[in-house]
């Protein structure tokens, strides 16, 4: 085997240009795979994080009716406790469940601010600031001022939204909204903070206010439109879910729906399907590159027919002749895949710092996605690209190698 490897390696240099072209084809395919995987991984990881922070939590509890009409931001179907227990007691119970570390209430409703030119619509979120700061990345996005404090009539909003209503931090703003009793009312708030974010949701849609203030204005009791449950690890959400569902069932909370983050958003489900599809795309890419290697090996078998006959005469078995050609294909695959994996790794390492700006494509698109995608630079992607390059190319090299192994020695020796 060792001497076959030695010959296979040396044979690669018999026609250097052809070998280089084959290696380059594999290297290019593997590089594209490593880069694409880094890009998709960066996009998916970031998008999952955003959905978890600003939409689904690890597990989200909402009223089933509310789930049907979520876009209407109805205040008629709130989470207002369970059985005889208040919302605070319900939160405490949920925090006791295994794996659940934090329960975050959010009260979402529609609001608007009138400027001289137009009525600017926005999403008002009544929040518990401490929990939001602990769970999301809002602290990093707060470019000016501070987060809202409980009990105060104050708001925090994004830079773009402030521009739309022509206000800045320190100024006051009057907002109009519809209460739980469907009456149209208005209130004035002090703007205490500004959020500067790439995320359109934070930059131009949402206005944060203390949840107790929101409840008071909307004439709600101790209620929220949703409860977000946060566990130790997002990937364990499915494991914690049955205990949450069980708690709701046993305490008369049949009207509530508990969903893990994976099931809570159709976009996340779409991303998961895309990840599987991309795996097939990677396979297809390497198969395309393998065609170059197959072509090279077919030419090699043709050129070395007499040599194959000689080897056969010397006593080399068909399986050993096959091995010799597969080894030659594998050697090209190894070098090409290594070069491609390193190349892809370098591109990802560079782009992980600089990012890929998709802002233009994401304008007016209603999905939670950071318009600047930062590919992840992981050894895992390089190993994946390398492995798929070597395995697929080696397997495809069997086709021409079998042709060589099937040659009759007398036929092969006659060939000139």
């Amino acid at each position: 085997m060792k001497f076959l490897m030695n010959i296979a390696f040396k044979n690669m240099f018999r026609n250097k240009l052809r070998t280089i072209v084959s290696i380059l084809a594999i290297a290019f395919a593997v590089m594209v795979i490593v880069f694409t995987r880094g890009l998709i991984d960066g996009m998916v990881a970031d998008t999952y994080e955003l959905y978890i922070h600003y939409d689904t939590g690890h597990i989200k509890i909402i009223d089933e009716e509310y789930a049907q009409k979520e876009r209407l931001l109805s205040l008629n179907y709130t989470v207002n406790g369970i059985g005889d227990k208040s919302l605070t007691e319900m939160q405490s119970d949920l925090e006791e469940l295994q794996g659940i570390e934090m329960v975050i209430p959010r009260l979402k409703f529609g609001a608007a601010v009138s400027t001289e030119e137009e009525l600017v619509q926005m999403l008002a979120w009544g929040v518990n600031s401490e929990k939001e700061l602990a769970f999301t990345n809002l602290a990093r996005e707060l470019s000016q001022g501070r987060m809202v404090e409980a009990g105060n009539r104050e708001v925090v909003m994004g830079t773009r939204l402030l521009e739309k209503i022509n206000r800045s931090v320190g100024e006051k703003v009057t907002m109009v909204y519809t209460t739980a009793f469907s009456s149209f009312q208005g209130a004035t708030f002090e703007i205490v903070g500004e959020i500067t974010s790439n995320l359109p949701l934070l930059n131009e849609d949402v206005v944060f206010m203390p949840i107790d203030t929101a409840r008071q204005l909307l004439y709600l009791e101790e209620e929220s439109t949703e409860l977000l449950l946060v566990g130790e690890n997002r990937d364990q959400a499915e494991t914690y879910l049955p205990a949450v569902q069980n708690y709701l069932e046993q305490n008369g909370g049949e009207k509530y729906l508990a969903q893990s983050w994976r099931g809570g958003s159709s976009f996340i489900q779409l991303l998961e399907v895309s990840e599987t599809i991309y795996n097939f795309v990677y396979l297809f890419l390497v198969l395309l590159a393998s065609i170059v290697v197959i072509n090279t090996l077919v030419m090699i078998v043709k050129e070395r027919t007499q040599e194959i006959g000689m080897m056969s005469a010397l006593g080399l078995k068909s399986s050993e002749i096959m091995q010799l050609f597969i080894l030659e294909g594998t050697a090209m695959a190894l070098i090409g895949s290594l070069a491609g994996a390193i190349g892809g790794g370098i591109i990802n390492y560079y782009l992980a710092g600089v990012g890929f700006d998709y802002s233009a494509a994401f304008q007016d698109v209603d999905i939670l996605m950071n318009p600047i995608i930062y590919p992840t630079s992981k050894v895992e992607h390089m190993l994946f690209g390398f492995a798929i390059g070597v395995v697929v190319t080696t397997i495809t090299a069997i086709i021409p190698a079998r042709r060589a192994a099937k040659l009759e020695p007398t036929e092969a020796l006659r060939e000139i």
Binding site: I7, G309, M310, A313, G315, L413
Partner: protein, 229 residues
């Protein structure tokens, strides 16, 4: 003792719907240590006969007994084993592996046997290369050797595993007469020293002069078989 016995050997090639007989009932015995030449015009069946004896092809009818074992019923893998351990081949166009040095080309044949240590292998290859007069050129690749030198490497490659039989298909066809003579002298010397059996196919009268047994073949049949002292 007979090394090879052929009994009523026939070989017919199928070319489309036409059956082309290449050998038509060959009966032949070759003793150990013989230095035999098979000659005859082109298309007479020399190479086919050599291929049959060399276990490279299967007969249509008849029997081949090699070293007292019938090889008629062996499969391709078993035939490869017979070639690996018992046979050496020398080809008209040398058929050396261009990416290997003279040393590695000779070593290639012995590495298939896997019964020698690395040092043993090295010593045997070097000693044989010196015997064929190429000790100084062990590290040269085939493209750095003349035709005669390439054929000497091929001879060393055929002999390195100490085979019972060496088959040479027109070994001097690509060499000038002076080099042919050197190569033939070398093979004769090897035949004398190691008692290895040599069978040649040739058109070359020079080769026939060296042979101790001359077998003439025409239209797939042996027409003349004479021994010389």
């Amino acid at each position: 003792m007979s090394l090879i016995k052929l009994r009523g050997l026939e070989k017919t090639y199928q070319q489309g719907k036409i059956a082309v007989p290449a050998l038509r009932g060959i009966d032949l015995e070759i003793e150990s240590g013989e230095f035999t030449t098979i000659f005859g015009p082109s298309g007479s069946g020399k190479t086919t006969l050599l291929n049959m004896i060399g276990c490279l092809d299967k007969s249509t009818a008849g029997e081949i007994i090699f070293d007292e074992h019938s090889i008629n019923d062996l499969n391709n893998k078993e035939l490869a084993e017979v070639r690996r351990y018992n046979l050496g081949f020398i080809f008209q166009s040398y058929n050396l592996i261009p990416v290997l040095t003279a040393f590695e080309n000779v070593e290639f044949a012995i590495r298939l046997i896997e019964k020698h240590s690395k040092k043993e292998r090295r010593d045997r290859v070097m000693s044989l290369l010196e015997e064929v007069g190429l000790g100084e050129m062990a590290n040269r690749r085939p493209n750095e050797l003349s035709g005669g030198q390439k054929q000497r490497v091929a001879i060393a490659r055929a002999l390195i595993k100490e085979p019972k039989l060496v088959l040479a298909d027109e070994p001097t066809a690509n060499l000038d007469s002076e080099t042919s003579q050197e190569v033939l002298e070398l093979m004769k010397e090897m035949n004398r020293e190691s008692n290895t059996t040599f069978i040649f196919s040739t058109h070359d009268p020079q080769v026939m002069d060296y042979a101790r047994r001359l077998i003439e073949i025409k239209d797939g049949k042996i027409t003349n078989d004479q021994r010389r002292d």
